[in-house]
Structure formats: C-alpha cells, structure tokens
Symmetry: C2
Subunit: 355 residues, 2 copies
C-alpha cells in the first residue's frame, strides 16, 4: 500500500457499550423480545454509531452525489454518455428519482461533478459550483488504458474525503454516497471481480438494461480490465487509477472518511458497494460504520456486500444508483430508531411480561 494510505488514521469501532445498552432497553420494551426482527438490529446499530441510547432519528442525513463519465461507456452501456451531464442538470433541477426519494426521506442532496465529460460550464445556469472541483474530464477506457493518473486518483480520493468532512462539519449525521455516470457499473464490476476473486462472467450484470450481445461485450471489457488491474490489487489507489474512475476514487474516499469521523453511511448500489469494498481494503474496520441499504439486481453488488458481511435492508430489485436504494432504506432505519426511542417499557406501561 502506498505511503499516503499508510499515514491515514485508524478507524475506531462504534460504541459497543451503547449497543449493549440498546439491547437491554429493547428487551424491556412492551413487545415480545425479538418480535421487531431486523428493526431491532437496526436500532442497536444506531445506538452504536450515534453513541447514545436511546438513539434519535438522524436529523441531517445527506446524499453526496458523485458524477463522472467513463470511456468504456460507449461499449458497455445502453445509454449515450451525454446523459451523465444531462442527469446532473436534472438533479440540480430536482427532477430525478434521488430528489423525490430524498425529499420524502428528509435528506439533503449535494451534487458534485467529479469527472463528467462535458464543457465545465454545462450547468452554470443551475449551479456554477457543480463542476468547480472536477478532477478530470471523463475517466479512461479501462479495457485498454488507465482510468486516470496516480496523482488524479489521489486527488479524487482526497476530494471524496474533503466532501465528507465538509458535510459532517456542516452537521450531517449520516451520509449516502450517490453515483451518476453512464457506464459506471463496468469499472465497479471489474473492481468487485478482482477483490472478491470472481470471474468477469460472475460480476457482469445488465446495468441500465442492456441486451445480451452488449452484455457479452461488457463482460469482455470487464475481463480485460481485470487482467489490467490484477498487478495493482495490493494498492487500492493504484487499482482505482488503473481500472476505477475519478468518481469511484472519490466515493471510496467519502465512505472511508465518514468512518474516520464516526459518521454512519448507508451504502447504495453497485458503484457504492464496489467503492466501499476498495475502502475496506484500506481499513477493514470502516465497514462497521456502513449499512447496506438494499440488494441491487446487479450481481457485483451482492458479491461485494457478502464479502463485507453486510446484509441489505431491503430487496426491491432496484438498479438505478443515485443513492436511491439507500434512500428507501433510510425511513426503515428511522422507524427502527423511533421504536427504541419512543416505546414504553413493561414497567412504565404496567404490562405483564412473560413469566
């Protein structure tokens, strides 16, 4: 691992004592022990990551939406690459799925152009700051060239960390890393293939909905990328430079920095899970701050989550990205917290517990 990563702090564990306190409280509430199932687990996780019991619903959850283009998209995606920039404009106008779901869940959305392949002024009328911290214009076509230079990978990773810091310093108490980038499941799947020891054919999915012949081309591209990336497996940032993308490196930095800052993260889909897996190679303790929001239809996502022992909250056959899967899990987490925070105990309510 390179010198920069070796100098990072260690991730500290969430508070186990508060988790235990949460469990004691759960067992005293007016319901049969265990009868709220997964909600009880989630409420204990909230105790541990918040360091309080009872926990409170997250007051300022934030989606950081990282957008970037990928040279491989023209080979592997059903959509034209210009859609990435168009969707950034859609996010800024509030018309995308992430906007609707974030509003419903009480989460804010911040959009950052990390590596979109468009004139930097393309969204100036909506938000002149959106492309101001761009690392590069598009990432390379990873089947035959590096996604970016080592310096760019470092800068993108540090951008992700800085974004996490900025959000947390502004009061965010839960982060969701959203992704937008035509073709971005290709580098994500290649990363998952390498880091979980699976063949390209096992990690290649249908993305936004490609047909079988394009699936075969995507699978071949992922196989080529995995071959190119294998020598870099021991160095997460070199791996990102080789077969990732600037937006993906930023996502890895974001979720890792959140764990340094003792701030929980709800992971989303394929890109989110793949980048979390890369960050897990930097510090395996980080994942105790992460919750898997949903199970995507993409095989790579499930393999990445399984490798990290993260059990998705819901399975709705979603495959959109943007943070949407995490945002559908957030109300479940908030509801789980509410039960532990608000319910009466057997003693308080004068209800007889089982003998």
């Amino acid at each position: 691992m390179n010198d920069h990563l070796a100098r990072l702090p260690r991730v500290e564990a969430p508070d186990g004592a508060l988790r235990d306190a949460g469990l004691l409280r759960q067992q005293a509430l007016t319901k049969p022990a265990g009868s709220l199932g997964r909600l009880e687990d989630l409420s204990l996780w909230a105790c541990a990551v918040q360091g309080t019991c009872p926990p409170s619903p997250f007051a300022r959850p934030r989606v950081v939406l990282l957008a970037g283009d990928h040279g491989i998209a023209s080979v592997t995606s059903a959509y034209p690459p210009e859609v990435t920039a168009q969707m950034v404009r859609n996010f800024l106008s509030g018309g995308a799925a992430v906007n609707a779901l974030a509003e419903r869940a009480g989460a804010g959305v911040r959009v950052v152009d990390v590596s979109v392949d468009a004139d930097p002024a393309y969204a100036d009328d909506l938000d002149p700051a959106v492309a101001r911290r761009r690392i590069r214009r598009g990432s390379g076509s990873i089947d035959h060239e590096d996604a970016m230079s080592a310096d760019e990978a470092m800068a993108a990773f540090e951008l992700g960390r800085a974004l996490a810091d900025e959000e947390i310093d502004a009061g965010a108490d839960l982060l969701i890393g959203g992704d937008m980038g035509i073709g971005n499941t290709t580098p994500a799947s290649a990363l998952v293939g390498l880091l979980t020891g699976n063949d390209a054919s096992k990690v290649t999915g249908y993305g936004t909905g490609i047909d079988d012949s394009r699936w075969m081309r995507k699978c071949a591209a992922i196989r080529d990328a995995m071959r190119r990336g294998r020598p870099a497996m021991g160095d997460p940032l070199r791996l990102m430079a080789c077969i990732g993308g600037a937006d993906l490196a930023a996502m890895a930095g974001l979720v890792l920095q959140a764990s340094f800052r003792r701030t929980p993260v709800i992971l989303d889909g394929t890109v989110s899970a793949a980048c979390a897996l890369v960050a897990d190679r930097i510090d395996y303790r980080a994942k105790s701050w992460w919750l898997a929001g949903h199970r995507s239809t993409e095989p790579a996502q499930g393999l990445a989550l399984a490798r990290m022992d993260l059990e998705p909250v819901v399975d709705f056959r979603m495959r959109l990205g943007e943070g949407t899967g995490a945002l559908i899990a957030l109300p479940v987490v908030q509801a789980a917290i509410t039960t532990l925070a608000q319910m009466a105990t057997f003693d308080e309510a004068g209800v007889s517990n089982r003998p």
Copy 2:
C-alpha cells in the same frame, strides 16, 4: 354461504386504465425503464386504487386496532391473557410499537375492544369509548368449543364493516387492520390451515416466542380446532363462529368493506392475513385492493399470502402484529408514489433516452 353474505354487493376492480396510464408515465421518467423495481409496481397499484395518475401520497392512512381475547391462550401462548387489556391501555397511552411506527409513518391509530376479557371499565380513564362496542368478553377456546355464536359472528363482522365505513367517511384513504390479542395466532393459524389445505404442523408457528413443548400443545390445539371447523368451511361466518374469534370476524369485515368502498388496505401479519383469506372466500375480487405489507416469521401468514398471490413488500422477520408490519411498508409505498408523482420525464428534463 349464508343469506347475509349472499346479499353483499360485489367488489369492483381497481381502475385498470389508470394503472396503464401510470405505466406509460413510469416509462417516460428519467431513469432506465424498470430500474426502480418493486417501487414501480407499487406506484402503479396506487394509480389503480386511487383512480388517479399521477397518484398522490396517501393523506390519511388509518390503523384500526382490533383487540380481543381467546380462551385458548392459556394453552398456546407465552404471555398471560391479561396482557391484552394492558396493551390496549398501552396503545391508548401511546407507548406501543404501533404508536411509534404510526407516528413516524403519518398514520392515525384507532383502538377498538372487540372481545377483550376484562371488566369493560378497564380503560375508562384513558378512553371510555374503547370497549363500548364490544361484542363479547373473550372468545371461546376453539379446541373444544365455538369461539362465539352465529349471531355474535355476524355482529362482529358487521362491526368491522361499520368501522371501515366510519373511517372512510371521516376521510381515511388507506386502512390498516391491526390486531392485539394474546393467543390470536392460534385461531388465525387454524383458519389458514383449513383454507389452504395444510396440516396443523405446517401452519403452527412460535407466535410471541413459545418453547418447543408449548409449540406441540399449540399444534395439537390447532389440529383439534381444524377438525371442529372443517364442516363449516363453506360458510365464512360460520367458520369464524366455530374456530375464529370476534376480533377476527371484525377484521374480516373491515378489510372486505374497505374493498367495497374502493379503499386500499395494507395487510399486516398472521391475524390480518388469515382474516383477509376468510374475506377472500366471501369475494375473491377484494384482494386487488390489498397489499401485503411484510412477510412475518409465522408460517401461516406466508401460506395465506401465497394463496392470495400477494407478495409482501418487506421481510424483516417481524412477528408483532398490531399493524406494525404494514406500517413499515407504508413509507415504502409513499416513496414509490412520490417517484411517479414528482420525477421529470426525459422530455421535461432534456435528457436523452436510450436509442
């Protein structure tokens, strides 16, 4: 089937044309077609049951919590029967799981003592009306006696229908039938066993968390009840009188009347699913107004849902009842509706669709 049931109106189907309109709109929204998975299905269901496109989040969802005791409880439950009345007080004080989850989901809660085995004044300090419409004090021990008389079964069924009417007339646009009653999974499981053609051993679960020896006694009681109930299978109200309970008959009336009134229902756990299955025998069209909120850990619940072809929204290993499983699905439904209602189309957002 008895004369009373034969005189009921027919359930009308939800609006298929609006569902089709919803599908057209879904396909025009700025996301790959199908990428919101189950959320898309839920949004189309909302179009059909609301008769509008785009649909709106439900404005006045209501939980009607039906409480009742069961003579069989002392044999089959881990909790003492007095807990039913104590929990009614807890509901009225706002200390139960249903209160916390309903508040979080924006739903109101109404508590009705249908057949609690307690002095009718037990909750007068909290709500003197709660027991005013009680059908009887506890239901019979169904392993060896009828749950109630035919007249009481009819009265309980009509109480459930009246409660649905009252709520809908007061503006409710979605109903959840909650249950509270120590021992109530015993009659529910017996009903499901008979109506799905499964052995007692296949439908008997661990309820609130009984041990293996009590499970065997519960299974034997369910087998005895099923033997007693078999001759009544062709008449849903006679079946309820024989091996159901007054609270269960009311639940069947509630969910059926909602469908007469073109008002959607989110089903909850074992009691809810069993009563829906009885109502389904009265009018098989009713279930198009019902959504299965969650998959419970009780086997009878899953068998009842499968018989009605209802796919649960979430699976959180919950087994509490009270409407809690439906209330955890409600925010998902609301989020699904929000995507269809708020997202921009490709044309509106100036985003290129796939070629």
